[in-house]
Every structure is written in structure tokens, then in C-alpha cells.
Symmetry: C2
Subunit: 267 residues, 2 copies
């Protein structure tokens, strides 16, 4: 992690334009508004997305060419594939142009004079506004003065502001895939496995919570349990037999168990 610039100041309300009103854009608009900033404009291709936003933004638009150039900060929160295209369609603006993607280089914004990253590391949904005060926000830019500016805006939302490079952000995004997407998928499989024998998935919820509680306190590799790390081949074989009707789950069981054993040997 890079050191943040020390030039931290209490920030006055900024004028901000949000491009995109999906899960991230929707949550950001609400959080920035709540913390005193003025949302000058909100863009979405899809006008139904403005629902729940019209009272807190000064104007909405479905036409990128109408974006006004005088906001302090532009945050592009659209799908990864669309960021460069959207950036290129923006008019010349005075403020700094940022995007919120973990997986996309900052350079897709290089048409603009001032650009950077404003990346909240969290999984968002439109239906549930998240509390930003405990959420990590990662910023980056080529210039120290822009990093300072983005950090100061970020700090109006959360104390957890990090300055990370493009390379670090990319690896963090991979780590986030393991943490969120892949974990969620394993839970989907657990749910599916329960369903095959009419066992309620609810019975596993306390185990999920305790799994996560433990990881908040300990390094996960130091608290690994189960048949794989114990080398309990008999139990693993029985589990593989139980999964014989779902060969893809069998394969995952095998690959993950091997991986646990490899990591155990390495430590």
C-alpha cells in the first residue's frame, strides 16, 4: 500500500457529476449527497434508473453530450467495457474524471486533462443502500495534487481511504473475486447440495457467520479446518462418493481439497 499524501484538509462540498446509475452509481450518489456534496448531474442510458435519485440530484440526462463541463469531479460508474467509450464521449471538462472499476486501467480516461481512480471496494445493490463509513475507498492518479484531492473527497465518506497503484488495484480485484464471487458460488453449491436431500440451507447460516467471524480475527490459512487439511482421506472419499451425481461438484471438491493440502504443505 502506498502512503497517502499528508495534505489532508476538511473538504468543502464539491459539485459532482455521476455517469451511470447502476448498483455503484446509485449508491455513490446517495452517499455523496448525504455527506453534503452537490450532485450536479446524473447520467444513465436508461431513464428508469433515475428512480429514487431525482430528489437528490440537480438534473438527470440520458445524453452524454449534455454533460456540463463545470463540475469539480466526474465519476464514471458504468460497466467495465463501456468506460472508455463513455469517457471519450464526454465533452472537455474542468473537473477531474475518474472511474470506479477494479478491473480497468486508469489510462482509458487519458483523453482528459485530469483523471484518476475512485474505487469503492464493495459489492453493491440498488435495493440496499450501503453505509460508506466502514467501506474502503481506493484512489489513484498520476499527480500528487489529484491524489490529495480524491483522498479528501473520499474521506468525506469513509476513514478507510487507500492510495493504491493500478497494479495493486488489479490484484486487489482478483482477490475480491475470490472473496466475494467465488465464495458466493461455493455457498450456492452448498445450497444446491442441501436441496438434493431436502435439507434446509438455513441450517448452514450460523456456520457461515462464524466462518466469517473467525476470519475477522485470524489469518484464514492459520484457521483452516476440515478433512483436507487433516489428511483424512476416508472422509474425503466418502464425500466424493456422495457427490457422484454431480461430477462438477466432485471435481471442485477434489481441486479445492488439493489446494488446501498444497497450501498446508507450503506453510
Amino acid at each position: 500500500m502506498l502512503a497517502l499524501p499528508i495534505n489532508i484538509k476538511k473538504m468543502s462540498p464539491q459539485t459532482i457529476t455521476i455517469i451511470g446509475a447502476g448498483n455503484v452509481g446509485y449508491n455513490l450518489t446517495h452517499a455523496l449527497h448525504q455527506n453534503g456534496h452537490k450532485i450536479l448531474q446524473q447520467y444513465s442510458r436508461n431513464p428508469t434508473r433515475f428512480e429514487g435519485l431525482s430528489n437528490i440530484v440537480q438534473s438527470t440526462t440520458t445524453d452524454l453530450s449534455t454533460i456540463k463541463p463545470d463540475a469539480d469531479l466526474y465519476i464514471i460508474a458504468v460497466s467495465d467495457d463501456a468506460i472508455q467509450n463513455v469517457s471519450n464521449q464526454l465533452p472537455k471538462v474542468q473537473g477531474i474524471v475518474t472511474h470506479t472499476s477494479g478491473a480497468t486501467t486508469m489510462e482509458v480516461l487519458n483523453k482528459h486533462k485530469r483523471y484518476g481512480i475512485f474505487y469503492p471496494l464493495q459489492t453493491f445493490t440498488r435495493t440496499k443502500l450501503l453505509e460508506f463509513s466502514t467501506l474502503p475507498l481506493c484512489v489513484h492518479s498520476h499527480q500528487e495534487k489529484e491524489i490529495t484531492y480524491l483522498s479528501n473527497v473520499a474521506r468525506t465518506l469513509t476513514d478507510k481511504v487507500f492510495h493504491i497503484t493500478d497494479e495493486q488495484r488489479a490484484i486487489l480485484h482478483v482477490a475480491a473475486i475470490f472473496t466475494n464471487n467465488f465464495t458466493n458460488h461455493l455457498l450456492a453449491i452448498a445450497n444446491d447440495i442441501c436441496d438434493t436431500k431436502q435439507v434446509s440451507f438455513d441450517i448452514l447460516r450460523p456456520l457461515m457467520l462464524e466462518t466469517l467471524n473467525k476470519v475477522q480475527q485470524f489469518e484464514p490459512r492459520t484457521i483452516q479446518t476440515g478433512p483436507a487439511i487433516r489428511g483424512d482421506e476416508k472422509t474425503m472419499q466418502r464425500h466424493l462418493n456422495l457427490l457422484q451425481e454431480t461430477p462438477h461438484y466432485q471435481q471442485l471438491y477434489q481441486v479445492l481439497s488439493n489446494s488446501i493440502q498444497d497450501m498446508g504443505k507450503g506453510s
Copy 2:
């Protein structure tokens, strides 16, 4: 899930002997003691394991042949491989003999006249006593009267008491491996990936918590996000490239992404 016997009564304190003082035995002894039961004896091969227990159990022993036959309930909480052996070494007892394993058939206890399952579905550690009141406890036996008895004891600890068959318990244990062991391993990998680029794993903790919070409310397969479910091949390829120094993580990334896509197609 099977219906529980309806013959629920408020249970008077029972005399209970716990065989084993590892993570499960240690937690069970404390929980049963706190809820008014008398822990007649606690067995462990390893006398250092009695630390923290001597004030709440009537006696401790490192010799199975000294187990007294007059407890109401015997709970064998030893490693899966040792259960049958321990059960066979127990003297003839009046009470019902149970074990706490998700992965072991009830029949390993069939030397005894009365036997059954007393399976708390949770991950335990000795260093942290768990609250049992929200923890699922699964019971089973061949006889209705034993199921009723075990349910009544279980209900002194928690409201979440389930009657599940051996087959259901086996599949539940597999699902628990996905929920706990494999999830923990993915978090260990995320941690490792962060370390390679000097990014603090702490930055991912809020994401972990929100991932689990969401699963408390929704079915996990309905909230799957990320490049795999979106079919975002470009991002997946970039991630695979980023993982090229750790081919086993690359393989896991590929296998899990494929599995997410398979499940997505199936739904």
C-alpha cells in the same frame, strides 16, 4: 428435514459424560454446564485438555475403562477416526451414547443398547466459547423415544433443533465443507494474492462481511456477480494473466469461473 417428535417437555438437569475435550467437547461441556446439566465425567487422552474444565465437571479421567455407567447421556466428541474405537472401549452404560460427528455413521455406536447422534453444526475453537442459543443442533436415533430425549436435551441449549437422518447429515456435512472449509480456503488465497503486491488483506474485510450479509437475505445463486456470470471474458483473461506466477490459483480461478457459468446456464 424430518418432523421432530412433538413430545417436547421442559427437561430437568441431566447427568452427562463427555468423551473428548477438544474444540467440540470443550464447547459442549461449557454450554451444557451453563444450562444446568451436570457433567459427571470428562475424558481426554491428554490431561492438559482439562484446563478450563476442572471447575465445571465433577471428575476428569484419561482412562476410558473408568467411565461410570450411570450418566443419562454420553457424548463422544473425538476425531472421526477414533469414534468407533472409543465407543467399543466404553463399558456397558445405562444412558444413551451419542457422537457429534457430521461425517460418521451412527452405527459405529451399535455396541450400545441406546445410541444416537448429537451433532452441533458449527465450527468450534477452544479459545472462544460459542453461544449455543443460535446454533443448529441435529439429532437422530433409531427410536422415537431416543429422538425425543435427545431433542429435549438439545432444546435446553438452542431453539434450532433438527431431526435429520444419517443420509441427510452426511450431505449436510459435505455442504458444510463447502460453506466453511472451502470458503475459508478461498479467503486464504485472497490473503496470499494481496500479500504478493503488498496490499493489506484488511481492505477486503468489509467485502467479506457484505458478501455474507447478502447471503443471509437472498439465495446465493440469485445474487451471483462478477466477470464469470457476466461472461466478461476480457476481465477473466486479464485475471488469469495476473495469476500466472501461481498456476494453482489460475487453475482454481478457471474451474470456479466455469462452475459459475454452468450454474448460470442451468438456472
